[in-house]
Point group: C2
Chain length 258, copies 2
């Protein structure tokens, strides 16, 4: 792939003036591959598949932001160009392979090409998300960071039974409280640190933006067959909104008691 | 103090093209109080004293960057406007008192004033430093983050014997290696986590910019009576450069052995 000079891809913020505590973050909201990058050597089915984005995640995040008066931020390009939930030196930042698929456009990237993608996608993402969080901290809004993802029901040929994965970084308190609430309020197969965990380097956003400020945080993973349509996304968000409220209330209670 | 609308204060980067591993960071390089903020109710002696900045730190950092082919970034305004080594919700971000001195211009700041200072000073600082670091990670430069500070020899009337404080955040490996090197190579009274430690909330920069990326990092504190003149700063840097090199070599050796 030739080296391309592209303008920065600015993340999208919705409900910027929301005064609720929740900040919903969707790093894998879009499968858009800007024309400067061609097709990355992928066919149309591949570019529509879960390797390019987290199908359904943005729809759920939007409805959660509505229901909980939260703010929403999402990335405007495919994770195959740059995965905003990865540091620039991680293999997954510009992956050469994803599950069963080689990504031809990502093999043999030069240092200059890696740097150009970092500058075009990752830097504006981090800067915008950081400013959003720091402004809300300064404004006394006590933010809570929730990242919204989806995962494929079949991975390397194996079916996944988990429907709702709850993944924590250093501070597990909100994750545990959300799991307990999900078990009380829903019939979802909810599991902690499934289908993967922080040990798989999937909590970069939490580590960079929530942990250093001591903000409550959690990464939510939804099985994408459960959120394939706008109706299904609405139903899922309607189940998850009270779960998040109950989880947050629980850690506030714990904080007062300690 | 009236609410003031000010343009953002962009941090200064020196030796942007340096290819060495060290990134020297000076959050308290300047005692400049922009005219929009008046005098903060302080007299001239107070505005020149250690409460407004870290005297000598920038001079040492500049010479270290020269000696070690490092890049340098420093903040252009006084810590009394916004302390870039503090999160927006920390008391020290816009302190109302520093050691023996009240800061009249910082009492009773409204949420809007706190937000305005955060936007004018902290956001451009974080964004610029983050981009500097992420670009160097993407370029394969394996950065090492070293923050340079100075402290007053007499604090609340008590003399401090420590001359060279080495403070760590979560990863203590470089700090311990630097302490050992300082004891071998210099006669400085060098101590770990003195005159204060991460528990005093002084490692915000390391926590936000180095720890999430797994970068080696350390905070250096120099007693300011030892770096009061350009000559003294040069002498100190000449002592510290081999100490930093030896410390870095030691953790590289440990990494290879493990």
């Amino acid at each position: 792939m030739p080296q391309v000079a592209v303008e920065p891809f600015v993340p999208v913020i919705e409900h910027a003036d929301a005064t609720g505590r929740f900040i919903f973050v969707c790093e894998h909201a879009s499968n858009h591959i800007p024309s400067a990058y061609g097709t990355l050597g992928l066919d149309e089915d591949q570019r529509r598949a879960h390797i390019a984005w987290d199908p359904g995640a943005l729809g759920v995040a939007r409805r959660l932001a509505d229901l909980l008066s939260g703010v929403l931020i999402h990335a405007p390009v495919s994770r195959l160009i740059y995965d905003c939930n990865r540091a620039p030196d991680m293999a997954g930042a510009m992956p050469t392979r994803s599950e069963l698929h080689d990504i031809p456009g990502n093999t043999a990237l030069s240092v200059q090409e890696r740097l150009a993608r970092t500058e075009a996608v990752y830097l504006p993402w981090v800067s915008t998300l950081h400013s959003l969080i720091a402004r809300r901290i300064a404004s006394g809004l006590n933010p809570v960071v929730v990242t919204i993802h989806s995962f494929t029901p079949v991975y390397f040929g194996k079916k996944r039974l988990v429907e709702f994965g709850i993944i924590h970084d250093e501070d597990r308190s909100l994750s545990v409280a959300v799991l307990t609430a999900a078990q009380k309020l829903t019939r979802l197969n909810a599991q902690l640190n499934a289908p993967y965990s922080a040990a798989d380097d999937v909590t970069h956003t939490l580590r960079l933006h929530a942990t250093p400020y001591g903000l409550p945080n959690v990464m939510l993973e939804l099985r994408n067959d459960l959120i394939a349509t706008p109706d299904a996304q609405e139903t899922m968000a309607a189940q998850l909104a009270p779960v998040l409220n109950m989880g947050l209330a629980e850690i506030q209670k714990q904080a007062k008691a300690s």
